[in-house]
């Protein structure tokens, strides 16, 4: 590879160029699988005008995938974190058990006497006779028992695969029990087989939150600048760090959907002046629906990374347009930067020029590129676990996304303006701002922000990840628990960006400093160099090559 070429091809500097790497990854697949996976792996040749990627399509059976299911997206991600709703999984025991505290839904109760239901896993523990004769009676009885035991203010019910198949009508049971008990009770038809990944569950969850919670409480909120943060799940306390910074600026968050949030806050969050969206994939539906019904405009923000955080704060201040707020935001940024800059300057001396790859969720593979950019690290490849085309290519492709059978079975709510509560002043303000060049309802997608000729891989498989590491041996990979130890066995540290490896927060300014320190530690820790014993250095063959053929792939 020529000098000139390697400068324009970020991947070529560290291994084969992106196109060759792509071919190499696809080589092993049977023809049909190759065709399918080929559409989901792109060389980002033209970041300004991203090519069409195969996203939100079915996982190839037999491929070791990172993906989960609709139930995991609905209960596990979006609704699960709401701490004062009592959540009941209707199904055999597994689903309720696996989603029990496994997604770091850290939260604080708001007042004495409240119960944090996230420490509880509740399930109807369906047995064979429920499958044969139906589980509706069991569900009604479970709701009654839960009410008697805990007296919650709301109960949510989640359907698992067999419930959908045997046809239990969870919504009718919920409605009847709601009438009987006089508290809010609602269900989610988020059976695991719906859609092709967790993403279907997010959509189902959004619909449910919108139908059963948003707008139930019209109490006025006494604050000058009122916003909601949508798609922020408070992993590692991110939401608390964002809240801390916004408070310093004088901005009030009514609801963070749905990290560390209470049921009442969600019921009241339509009183906000503005919605800002963190995870576009999991909650863009909610942003759209709230705008339709209440007139609340939304735009995308990113509180991950210093530049992202600064930009987002400034944009919120610009939206409100008060000089006092705009100035305050600058003061806060200056004060916070004074703290974090020395940390970054120090760490950059060790991280500059290092490489990373990111294969996470439905926004983190995007957001976290900002943090690596801060550290002068090159992201050579990235992709989402459950994104749709708009998350890669930007929202301008929305009208061109084909609805397939797997998306069609997820309800699309018809939302109209609320006659009494639609605030016409908000769209007017939005229009005026748009005329001055301000963008709303926007998301440019991941590919526009990635370097030219890097690899974009949707729903990366185990095999592709292994090949990528063999070819490039990145200095760090951001991924999840299922890949973590595969990656680390190959001598590459892996940062779990779903759970943060139980560290964090990584959002905002202090969070960024935490992240830089963690990556610095991971890329400089000595343990990776200890893998080879000294007696294998200097000519003697490594132990693994002497092992019998059973040693594996």
């Amino acid at each position: 590879m020529s000098e000139e070429n390697s400068n324009t091809s970020p991947m070529g500097r560290y291994g084969p160029d992106a196109a060759t790497a792509r071919e190499e990854m696809l080589k092993v697949y049977p023809r049909k699988t190759q065709r399918k996976r080929g559409k989901q792996m792109l060389v980002n040749e033209n970041p300004a005008t991203p090519a069409e990627i195969g996203a939100n399509s079915r996982t190839v059976p037999g491929i070791i995938t990172q993906r989960g299911c609709s139930y995991a997206g609905c209960k596990g991600v979006v609704i699960g974190p709401i701490y004062d709703i009592l959540h009941i999984t209707h199904g055999p025991i597994g689903c309720g058990w696996y989603s029990w505290l496994s997604r770091r839904n850290i939260t604080k109760i708001r007042a004495d006497g409240e119960v944090n239901f996230l420490q509880y896993s509740m399930s109807t523990d369906m047995q064979e006779d429920h499958i044969v004769f139906g589980g509706e009676k069991q569900l009604a009885a479970a709701i009654q028992e839960a009410y008697d035991e805990f007296h919650p203010k709301a109960i949510s019910v989640y359907a698992t695969c067999p419930v959908g198949l045997i046809g239990d009508d969870i919504h009718t049971v919920c409605r009847q029990m709601k009438e009987k008990l006089g508290i809010n009770i609602f269900g989610f038809s988020c059976e695991g087989y719906k859609g092709v990944s967790q993403s279907a569950g997010h959509h189902i969850a959004n619909n449910g939150v919108f139908k059963h919670m948003i707008g139930l409480d019209d109490s006025p909120v006494e604050a000058k600048y009122k916003i909601n943060i949508l798609g922020e799940y408070n992993i590692g306390g991110d939401a608390w760090e964002i809240d801390r910074v916004l408070k310093l600026c004088g901005i009030h968050i009514i609801g963070t959907l749905s990290g560390g949030v209470s049921y009442d806050e969600i019921c009241n969050c339509h009183m906000a002046d503005l919605n800002v969206v963190m995870c576009h994939r999991s909650i863009n539906y909610m942003a759209e629906m709230m705008e339709e019904k209440f007139g609340i405009p939304w735009f995308k923000v990113n509180f991950i990374g210093l530049e992202g955080t600064k930009k987002s704060l400034r944009k919120i201040a610009q939206y409100f347009g008060d000089k006092e707020l705009i100035d305050r935001v600058e003061e806060v940024i200056a004060a916070e930067m004074a703290e974090v800059r020395p940390v970054l300057d120090d760490i950059r001396t060790r991280t500059t020029g290092k490489t990373a790859a990111l294969f996470v969720g439905g926004s983190r593979a995007h957001h976290y590129q900002d943090l690596f950019n801060d550290m002068d690290m090159q992201v050579i490849a990235a992709g989402y676990e459950f994104a749709h085309r708009d998350d890669y290519e930007g929202r301008d492709v929305l009208p061109h996304i084909k609805i397939d059978a797997d998306s069609r079975n997820i309800e699309e709510l018809v939302v109209t303006a609320d006659e009494t509560r639609f605030d016409a002043a908000k769209p007017e303000k939005k229009k005026a701002l748009e005329e001055s060049g301000f963008t709303f309802s926007d998301y440019e997608g991941m590919m526009r922000q990635m370097a030219k000729d890097t690899l974009v891989i949707d729903d990366i498989s185990h095999h592709e990840m292994e090949k990528l590491i063999e070819m490039y041996h990145p200095d760090v990979i951001g991924s999840g628990i299922k890949d973590k130890y595969v990656i680390e066995k190959m001598g590459v540290p892996c940062k779990q960006l779903h759970s943060y490896d139980y560290g964090g927060p990584y959002a905002g300014f202090k969070g960024a400093a935490n992240f830089y320190k963690d990556i610095d530690r991971m890329t400089s820790t000595k343990v990776w160099k200890l893998a080879r014993a000294p007696w294998h250095e200097g000519g003697s063959a490594p132990a693994a090559e002497k092992e019998p053929a059973t040693a594996g792939a």
């Binding site: 190839v60 299911c69 035991e149 805990f150 695969c161 066995k489 059973t550």
Partner: protein, 458 residues
């Protein structure tokens, strides 16, 4: 505070499980399949199950857990999963090149009634199973049994599909270890080797789920029972099955299929249960117990007697899996401790009776409940305080709420390392359990005793 909603008022619950002490069958099948060399566990259903099981097993072992899934979407749920499974088999053999695929079902494929043997047969006919490669299956509906029965079903499937008798009985003992940690499997083998018995251990997750770090990723590590060994089990002269629930069914199946007699023992946790395992090996091998092993035993007895003052009448609440509990509760009784409440989520009346017998002499008031949950245990503790809680990671919330020492034991342990590396079985494992119990109890004392009562020597 933790678990603020839990009160001491116990209401009978018939429909609501609160904080389960079990999970579903397929994860047990996946764990057992990982104990076979060059085996790919395959989850036939929607991909969430496979994701959850892999995540949980990975978090527990802190090692790679790979498995594939049929990735059902709605279409497969309506029209059946045959096309998905066939595509999966083709992809798995082409991309990952295992020697064997162990298919287990999920609630979804069970409810729609997919006939897995038929699909496997069809796959073989269509030539997507390469020459010399195998696909086996087990049924693991999540609405019956628990993760432990899933493990048992997978082990039984190994026997059904693979064990053969060539007609010549060999001087080999089959050992079925039950659902224990990789370190336990290693300890079970070490003891058999000390006693001098030739054995086949199946399944065997040592060196698979505690694999060494050598800078390379091995999808199929060196460990695991080989297919040749699984086949040869039919020619062994005896099966020692450890853990009636997890290993009993496979032993019974092998007896039925290949006439290999079996001894079903409790898991070798504690003095008596380990004695029984050692003795069974001794008799099988027609050999004597080596003095090195007797010394290990003696050291365990010595430690119990040294600690008797602290262990005697120590009131314990414990939850976990039936086989684990049977042996651990016996061990607690041997130490002089008082198991006060014992909960498992797995259904089983026979187990309750057995547990009652174990405690009848020293602690007849012990409550045993199968098909119960951690919430019930917690409420019971509120009514009848204990000195120590033992169980998997999920119990730590109860321990914190009630400010009680906590010893992690069983599956899963998500928040500590060591459990996969240090055995709880055997005499050595017994010593480790006593160490953990006394450490937990003493740490609390050292932290909380008034200054004038803090002792240097305990």
């Amino acid at each position: 505070m933790m678990l603020d909603g839990t009160t001491s008022e116990i209401r009978e619950r018939k429909a609501l499980r609160i904080n389960p002490a079990k999970t579903c069958q397929p994860i047990g099948a996946m764990y057992a399949a990982l104990g076979i060399n060059k085996c790919m566990p395959h989850s036939h259903g929607s991909q969430g199950c496979c994701a959850y099981h892999r995540s949980q097993l990975t978090r527990h072992h802190k090692d790679p857990v790979v498995a594939t899934t049929s990735s059902f979407t709605e279409g497969a749920s309506v029209f059946g999963g045959m096309a998905n499974l066939k595509t999966a088999i083709n992809n798995i053999f082409t991309i990952y090149e295992p020697d064997i695929i162990a298919v287990h079902t999920t609630c979804l494929s069970e409810v729609i009634g997919d006939d897995i043997p038929m699909i496997i047969k069809k796959s073989a006919e269509d030539g997507i199973i390469p020459e010399g490669k195998l696909v086996i299956h087990t049924n693991t509906p999540s609405f019956a049994g628990s993760h432990v029965t899933g493990f048992a079903n997978q082990c039984t499937a190994f026997v059904k599909y693979l064990a053969e008798s060539a007609g010549e009985t060999k001087n080999v003992v089959n050992i079925m270890p039950g659902w224990v940690e990789p370190a336990d499997m290693r300890e079970i083998k070490r003891i058999a080797e000390m006693v001098g018995v030739e054995y086949i251990l199946a399944p065997d997750t040592s060196d698979v789920l505690d694999s060494p770090h050598d800078g390379k990723y091995h999808m199929y590590p060196d460990g695991g029972t080989t297919i040749a060994q699984l086949k040869a089990m039919g020619d062994s002269f005896l099966t020692i099955a450890l853990g009636p629930l997890a290993s009993g069914p496979a032993a019974t199946e092998l007896e039925k299929k290949c006439k290999v007699p079996n001894k079903v023992l409790e898991l070798p946790i504690g003095v008596k249960a380990t004695d029984e395992y050692v003795n069974a090996l001794r008799l099988a091998g027609d050999t004597t117990v080596p003095s090195a092993l007797e010394k290990e035993r003696g050291r365990l007895i010595d430690m119990i007697s040294d600690m008797s003052q602290y262990l005697h009448n120590l009131r314990v609440a414990i939850f976990g899996d039936p086989d684990h509990l049977t042996s651990m509760v016996s061990f607690l009784v041997e130490m002089g401790a008082k198991p006060m409440i014992v909960i498992t989520g797995t259904p089983g009346k026979k187990w309750e009776t057995k547990m009652q017998e174990i405690c009848a002499e020293t602690n007849p008031d012990t409550q045993f409940l199968a098909f119960s949950d951690i919430h019930y245990m917690h409420q019971w503790i509120k009514n009848n305080p204990v000195d120590l809680i033992m169980g998997n990671t999920f119990g730590k919330y109860v321990a914190r709420t009630e400010n009680l020492p906590y010893v992690r034991f069983g599956f899963p342990i998500l928040d500590r390392v060591g459990h996969r590396a240090f055995p709880t079985v055997g005499y050595a494992g017994g010593m480790r359990i006593i160490e953990k119990i006394t450490d937990a109890v003493f740490d609390k004392r050292d932290r909380e005793d008034p200054d004038h009562e803090v002792e240097l020597v305990l």
